[in-house]
Symmetry: C2
Subunit: 230 residues, 2 copies
DNA sequence: GCCGATGCGGAGCGGATGCTCCGGTTCGCC
DNA sequence: GGCGAACCGGAGCATCCGCTCCGCATCGGC
């Protein structure tokens, strides 16, 4: 069966010829503009704004991304990845595993506190753990946890650390603009709660990293706005 | 000047006679229905749905609450108060001040994790600290903090505890439906971080309870949807 | 019971927004 | 350079949603 499949060029359908050069450029500029706009205004932004900012027409935008959600997903994939990477770099400069963990949170929260779309879509962490950007984030945290495990109180899981990041992310949203020191205090409190010291271990998580039920119907675009099919 | 103002009945304008009985009933049923609907669907809900659920027409609804935000504000005022009260009651049954604090968080997070509108509008905690419901919540926390102060690490403020509540509130939103034990773990970690034990005190908050700048333009209704004036 | 002030209902307005349609343009293989 | 497929742009469609308007019903002081 498999042997009968014709081996066809780089991927899947062979008859489709390479995209035109201008189309490639347009796609890139759409993604770049969308990243900016989504960071500034969140996923509820008008698609026209993205088209305008990237200098293409609506037709072009919708040719590349048939649904708004397709575009948002692509951008979030990229930006979650960039986020994970920049936070990982900050952690790699630290002098000990615990400082690495602390620096990771510090960088993760400062660097992306203003990225509305990411802050809005933390739910993806649980509803779509397989999105590439999310997976990278998890991997970074898992690595940091392993290195710092001697200092972490027993029973702390990667999911605990991830949920802490999500949770603090919202604290940052509320306080960063007016009183940034507030979320820093909360970060410090939480990190202290994670240290081993002489506390008893946490109870084992009942399903440590099992598959997670996606919540009801969380879509990427337009929180609480029903998607409408034409 | 003041002396010339006529003293007029119970309040302000005297010529307005008491509202009709049916109007009072309608107002109550609107608030009740709105509370349900807002809890279920958040502030982005269609006003028509509230009118339908409460059995009144649009005209009636807008007579009582000229703007959607007026209604939402009234409901949130009530519901924040109810929330504070129910959490305070849970705390009052505890056997020691620390357990009271823990029970408070437990009840606050369990009882209102499903109240979409409250979870959405934690920002009010910072942007409108004078809203009555918010003030009650702060008062309860302040009281618990005072009672547990011997066990709290030095430097922990009421705002710290409030921000922790806000922050955990979002963790609850993400995990309560599928893995409720996850946020419970995070609560435990955070509470442990608040205990005095042998850690150094937190640095003093730079402006402990000073006036807070309201963030850019947060309105109660329809997150990220620009209000439109007719 | 009369009657006017008060209250009611819901069709409809205007604007925002996701998405489509199609005539005109441009690229790139030959 | 020629030509057809791929691509582009933006006007326009359908829908949603906050809010208004106005003819009609109801309450309640007399």
């Amino acid at each position: 069966m498999l042997g009968r499949m014709t081996v066809t060029g780089p991927q899947s359908t062979p008859r489709r010829r390479a995209p035109r050069a201008d189309a490639v450029l347009n796609r890139e500029s759409i993604i770049e503009a969308a990243s900016q706009v989504l960071a500034e205004q969140g996923t509820a932004v008008d698609v026209r704004e993205i088209a305008r900012r990237s200098g293409v027409g609506m037709g072009t935008l919708y040719r590349h991304f048939p649904k708004k959600e397709d575009l948002v997903r692509t951008v979030l994939h990229n930006d979650f990845s960039k986020w994970a990477e920049s936070a990982r770099r900050a952690a790699s400069d630290a002098e000990d595993p615990w400082a690495a963990l602390a620096d990771f949170y510090q960088q993760a929260l400062t660097g992306y506190a203003r990225h509305c779309a990411i802050m809005e879509n933390f739910a993806l962490t649980w509803s779509e753990p397989d999105l590439e950007g999310i997976r990278q984030l998890r991997l970074v945290i898992e690595e940091l946890r392993a290195h710092a495990s001697a200092l972490l109180r027993p029973g702390v899981t990667t999911d605990d650390l991830l949920l802490l990041l999500v949770s603090l992310g919202h604290a940052v949203q509320f306080t960063d603009a007016c009183r940034p020191q507030m979320w820093q205090r909360l970060l410090r409190i939480s990190l202290d709660g994670l240290r081993t010291d002489h506390r008893e271990p946490l109870p084992a998580a009942t399903s440590p990293d099992a598959g997670i039920q996606p919540s009801d119907s969380h879509t990427l675009a337009a929180r609480s706005r029903p998607s409408q099919s034409g």
